[in-house]
Symmetry: C2
Subunit: 411 residues, 2 copies
């Protein structure tokens, strides 16, 4: 099962501790042996939280749990329990009971209600989660939890990931500096098995839950929701943001988010860094692909075209083969369903316009494009020539490595 | 570029000649050397025709030509010119001029108007079609055309296809027997390059063009539009049906299609046989996959779920790896966007129900499913438990062969 580290990997940066957020990892032996696979986090009283979850219509039991608990507890959260190796998805009543038992055990340690505990699981679908292996080690994790454990946490939640992913930022709120640190796992936006995307972020800022939810949703749209590996959507995708409120900045009310401008920008940056790290670890990925679509009539239309390109197996395999096959881009634009005027369509790779207004550029010289496509980071630009809306999406290529990983995953 | 013949290949059956349809093939040297790459067909005066074309918004010039010509000529057609190797797509004004010149040359030979000539091209996108190489050999093809040349025709239109595809059927109209013969090319519903799906069918029945169009559209829905290889949609997909009217059956009016019942069934069968042949030649395919979705609230909903399963790279790679990973089916059902009740969802492979009502079947024994998935023809059944509508879709697995073919296609 060990796969070589992605050639697109980036080193884990120094992750700043967050006042009021303590973490610990342990070995539950849920699927993996001899490596940590459980993460426990405890947050200071008064911590607010917001979550964004998978759009999949068959979500896992932990996703159901978090959605209901965030609503019931109005975003007040005190603890988080995550496990790798078993997704607790499609497990029916047994899966719901697992969630309830795990949350109850964590709540007892954190001194809160069960609804103030968030849960996330990633791994195989359809197998009952042995939650007793998690709850058995929770007391030790509660004891060991400390603020400076984010790098360990990033490693504990990995599954098919080939490198650990995390990021930190600071921002100004009033005259105070606040810190944001986040970790993520995922080999793409992709799989229901080991490649679920999970992301946990904490900040010491003090932000009302409703405002936090709005800001997180906005940040996700421009980051995680603008990346794709293979168009498959996990049943467990979860992004949770916790604000411990330990920073001594002026009070922010739910109606007043002007003070959050710098914080919002820092959060967006951090989300983008984590989302790109996930794409860089896309299963079998050899190349990171950026797709910019301009000239659309609406942002939604631009995004639809960008995603059609990003999810086209033919484009992804062409790039894997270092073939600057822009004809496949024409195909993907056309199959997106967006109304486009073929005769105004223009396409560039690596900054070189290959086709303009519906036909190949006169005297088009492939040489610079071939040089570009041999690199690690590929840039595709499409101008629909129909408006002023634009969208950017990131993806990776489709290689033999993807087949290797996914054809032999459970065996 | 030579790829081994698909292990799912079926031999080309005997193709019955159709009275009033004469065919000839020749070497235009458009892309391939030393093999036929041009097909010319001529139809008896009075022949009616209907076409179904790609839904891609960036269609090739020949698709535009056929749509306009069928409309202008009210379905009266006398000739067909097809070339393999160059798709004449995204070629702007030059592409339109190529179509006009080719049609004019064929019309002169067939003794008809240019709008009574159908055109189809398959091959690379974005390169000007050297139509002079086609028109140069048309006079010889016009001379050589004969009714018994369907097998040759099936070979002339191949691109990445690894075997030739054709089928014949007979049907009763009144007390007369009519014949239908068709050929197809395509390595899936898939590519804009060499894997465009083209299909040409002729019958000696005498059927008004409007009725022919209605019946063809209906047949396509249940055959070609229920198959997928990789979710990519060609810019050139074309199905054309020609009725030469040479059979001496009672006259059928546009309003009276009761007499076409048997003919319709035979046409549906023939379309399905050709569509399945295309999936069997799906690029890199090792396994043919049938997906039956039942228990949906609408046929459209059932189809959406079936296509989400059929187009999921994770399911297709799992099957390539002979892994009965039903968790991925849960994922695909959930990502389809169709409203489903996860807790009523049931899944079977090879007739064995693995999951029922949202959880794994008690005492589920994987052994018979593992034996099934090692075979060439895989059967997935999904019951959504929400209604009585159903849908069937066919696809193939996603293998290293697909990457090999598509990563190195133009080089």
């Amino acid at each position: 099962m060990a796969h070589p580290v992605s050639p697109l990997a980036v080193p884990l940066p120094t992750l700043a501790p967050i006042a009021g957020a303590r973490l610990a990892i342990g070995e539950g032996g849920i699927r993996y042996q001899g490596r940590p696979d459980v993460l426990y986090a405890e947050f200071a009283p008064g911590t607010t939280s917001a979550g964004v979850f998978t759009s999949n219509r068959c979500p896992g039991a932990p996703v159901d749990w978090c959605r209901a608990a965030l609503k019931a507890g109005r975003g007040q959260v005190r603890a988080l329990v995550v496990n790798a190796g078993n997704a607790n998805v499609f497990t029916g009543r047994a899966g719901r009971a697992s969630c309830a038992r795990t949350a109850a055990a964590a709540a007892k340690l954190a001194g809160c209600g069960a609804k103030e505990v968030m849960l996330a699981s990633t791994g195989v679908i359809g197998q009952t989660l042995p939650d007793d292996r998690i709850t058995a080690i929770l007391p030790a994790l509660h004891q060991a939890a400390q603020e400076d454990a984010w790098a360990d946490a990033a490693r504990a939640i990995m599954t098919t990931d080939t490198f650990a992913k995390g990021a930190s930022r600071t921002a100004r709120i009033g005259r105070r500096t606040v810190t944001i640190t986040g970790i993520a796992k995922g080999s793409g936006m992709i799989a229901p098995d080991m490649a679920t995307m999970l992301c946990f972020i904490a900040t010491d800022a003090q932000i009302p839950a409703s405002l936090l939810a709005r800001r997180l949703k906005q940040g996700i749209a421009g980051s995680f929701n603008s990346t794709t590996v293979d168009s498959d959507t996990s049943t467990s995708d979860t992004v949770l943001l916790f604000a411990t409120g330990q920073a001594k900045h002026p009070r922010i009310t739910a109606r007043d988010d002007a003070m959050l401008k710098d914080f919002g920008s820092a959060l967006d940056e951090l989300l983008m860094e984590l989302a790109l790290a996930v794409v860089r670890d896309g299963e079998g990925a050899q190349k990171l692909i950026r797709i910019d679509v301009a000239g659309a009539r609406s942002a939604e239309g631009a995004r639809r075209v960008a995603l059609a390109i990003a999810n086209s197996p033919l484009i992804k395999t062409a790039i894997a083969g270092e073939d600057a096959n822009w004809g496949r881009v024409v195909m993907a634009v056309g199959k997106s369903g967006e109304r486009v005027n073929r005769d105004r369509l223009s396409i560039a790779m690596g900054g070189v316009w290959m086709a303009r207004n519906g036909t190949v550029v006169d005297g088009y010289d492939e040489a610079p494009v071939v040089a570009h496509i041999r690199g690690r980071e590929i840039h595709i630009e499409v101008d629909l020539g129909g408006g002023s809306a634009r969208s950017t999406v990131f993806t990776c290529d489709l290689t033999h490595g993807y087949i290797d990983i996914n054809a032999s995953y459970r065996s």
